[in-house]
Symmetry: C2
Subunit: 548 residues, 2 copies
Amino acid sequence: MTEKIIIIGGVAGGSTAAARLRRLNEESNIIIFEKGEYISFANCGLPYYIGGTITDRDKLLVQNVKDMSLRYNLDIRIFSEVIKIDRQAKKVFVKNVQSGEIYEETYDKIILSPGARPVVPPIPGIDKAKTLFTLRNMEDTDRIKSFINKHLPRKAVVIGGGFIGLEMAENLHDQGIKVTVVEMSEQVMAPLDKEMAAIIHNHLQEKGIELILGDGVKSIENNGQSILTQKGNKMETDLILLSIGVRPENELALQAGLRTGKRGGIQVNQKLQTNDPSIFAIGDAIEVNDFTNKQPTMIPLAWPANRQGRLVADIINGKDVQYNGTLGTSIAKVFDYTVASTGNNEKILNRLGKPYEVIHIHPVSHAGYYPGAVPIALKLIFDKTSGTIYGAQAVGKDSVDKRIDVIATAIKGGLTVKDLPDLELAYAPPYSSAKDPVNMAGYVASNIMEGEVDTIQWHEIDRILADGGTLIDVRRPEEWENGHITGATSIPLDELRDRLDDLPKEETIYVNCQVGLRGYIAARILAENGFKVKNLDGGWKTYETALQ
Amino acid sequence: MTEKIIIIGGVAGGSTAAARLRRLNEESNIIIFEKGEYISFANCGLPYYIGGTITDRDKLLVQNVKDMSLRYNLDIRIFSEVIKIDRQAKKVFVKNVQSGEIYEETYDKIILSPGARPVVPPIPGIDKAKTLFTLRNMEDTDRIKSFINKHLPRKAVVIGGGFIGLEMAENLHDQGIKVTVVEMSEQVMAPLDKEMAAIIHNHLQEKGIELILGDGVKSIENNGQSILTQKGNKMETDLILLSIGVRPENELALQAGLRTGKRGGIQVNQKLQTNDPSIFAIGDAIEVNDFTNKQPTMIPLAWPANRQGRLVADIINGKDVQYNGTLGTSIAKVFDYTVASTGNNEKILNRLGKPYEVIHIHPVSHAGYYPGAVPIALKLIFDKTSGTIYGAQAVGKDSVDKRIDVIATAIKGGLTVKDLPDLELAYAPPYSSAKDPVNMAGYVASNIMEGEVDTIQWHEIDRILADGGTLIDVRRPEEWENGHITGATSIPLDELRDRLDDLPKEETIYVNCQVGLRGYIAARILAENGFKVKNLDGGWKTYETALQ
């Protein structure tokens, strides 16, 4: 019994599904319909081809139709848009977008893998902006590349400071273009919380990117040559890159009566099955469960799409597997920095009203005495009672990916923050420290769970001082001179034991140091001597960066 | 009630224990006895100071006695050797190694952290070899450095191809010295299996290191200026670095009647307690349980020492924690390569008679289309029935540490090879692929567990061919031309479906490709068409490297 499986959309998840379907079954009749010209191209590489880091366009074409058809014995039809699914008759209507011809094809199963397209809001003037681009596919890439080559733009505005926005900002900058990023919220890179994004804000400005935060585009004028923001900023530009987010390609699903979620994502069960058991859906177009908080969400990333592509083929071939939700691990290069995160951030947990505890640490990427060690800002969010890891964020110039991957693995392994010190990670001076940053994060979080230290956050201390609280800065005098929190008192750590009599026994004393470690030692000394004390988490470094 | 705690040995674990003891209790009376001049120096950095990568000697001195005493309110006594423990009287005898004076000190608890010292075998002539060094501490380092500066050696022999041996080979080479490594076994880097070590053998030779394997030193002649090996190699040398292993400093423990294991390691329970409940022991001197196989072993590494130092302080302060055994995750830089491993290798499992399954993959460090992607040789060892991960080894020029850390974390999280595809790791082109190498390893291992493919290993195929077996090489003709297994037949993968009639249905067909992936596709095509088939794991690449 030969099953006829139609895959709608031949990029990431669709291609993966097709290859796995064939490997599991030589008999299946597998047809891929792809609206565009290309299957399985390197979406995530597109900005780097525009910027010139990737020089060979062919490298972006991971699979071509001919080779893939031959190797996996597939019927791949490009320029072929499925315009309607007839679920009763179990057939689809396919339009050849070049000839306009429409024909029917029957199916036993469908895998919907249509992806998501860039959101284009109805900003006045946007329709006349000939210099405005979005970036989704090879065609967009070619358009932008040829525009740059032909018109040699000197100024560009990137609207939206997410992954694609910042990757494009860097790559346009690499092309010698002066770039302004306009972002509606108060920070770039939504997966980060604000104080972590602040590191990137500084770095973007250091690199000569103009950053306009908390402001949206009101109108685009003069055929795209000028932009007016809601707060009255006006800027001239030769090129506009619109990257404020993506929206699931759900029209076909909606037409077929398949269920979609609040934000339009096609709803599937853990078997990646829509409400029609013959129709599966994968990739950026579907709604997934957030692995951390179990709520439905949209997480359009490459890893989930590929994972789902594999699983859907396994499921169709009768394997007992399922998709367990998306953790949302993500990463981006932003000039010299790497930004990575996994799980939930504070913004998400606050929205859900879920209590949590936070720590910030500032370890170095590898042994400090070995050349090339650079700081990593690492944030861990967890439940104080159970130790459950809710999420982590890291920003730094090296080895950031490693630490987030380790924490993402710990989360999938059901490990708590108390298990992180026990992770036996590879140590030699060029790679890490005998206590890896992830071990350290575990130690710091465990200390809080075990009641060895209480902490306050960077956004709490100013109010405490305004209310008359006592803050002791335990850094060395020369560090204090280089900047300190207004209202703090300087008592270097190594003098603390001799100055206990100067401190109030009744009220809570707050302590801070540079990154939190000496503050913790000070807090222990004070607690052991009968004082009530809280340490400023992340120290001066987190405080100063966040409030810059 | 003030407890008096004596720490014997002030380097890695001892220092960590002291600091944690103080943070947990301001009252404890904590004395550190250190035989040498320095506490808490950067052992792992010593070769790099000798080689000139680390230029500032002070950077190796992580903590100095004065600062550490002050900060943690410790009584640190250097040049102080504890020469006897009187367990009945609960006192120790301490010798001031400078003055020769001996005095007593009582204790409530002892933490033994004496470390391990380089093995110096009774090779004829070794006592007269003035140019022979071992490397353990600052004093050794200073001796070697000053010898090099004074005598400008042109040739050096490193005896022993383990971590320190190869790190020293590289660092001596960096000093312009022509280096020969003599190693008794057939491979360097014991944590690796032979075919993985072979990559490093090639690289060392590429770098101009002379490598003598499977040969030991028979005698040292002419005051160390010439070495004769057991196989009759004779070489002249200006410097000898002896690094064949370490031996626990167990004399004090033995004198005190503390139990030691087969290889001399001080035996402790999971609370790091010796058979005397007042005496704890940590670090390189103790016997630990292998986390993977639960057998007692010796794993002298920095991570366990530091972890144990922390835990012993927690345990002494009444916390309900324990040491869970050592996984043995280790890593070394060997010129341009990184070598890392975790858990058990084939050699250990064979010794224990434990059945296992092996896979080799050769992914690239990050997306192939993004500049700088380099191959990683990744080996995973697991149980075919349960999927339990026994160990992993990786060798490559980039991101090797990350993959081993992720697998080490998966092991600690109790994940099986079937969970590895589900690890949601951070992907953007500069960092990984949408299917990370660890995901890929999980897919390949799962395929074997699920019976989708059978494999054979690099060391099995020659015998199979000699016995008349059929091996199909499915690579492209130009790959075949560049080298192939003698006795194989070339059928490019994309022609396979058309050539099924040429193949025997009765016997098992073996297939190979470059790295194993196309071989797997071929195996699936053949299996689905009713053939018995096995794929050569790791492909031509593993085979060729191993047998070079």
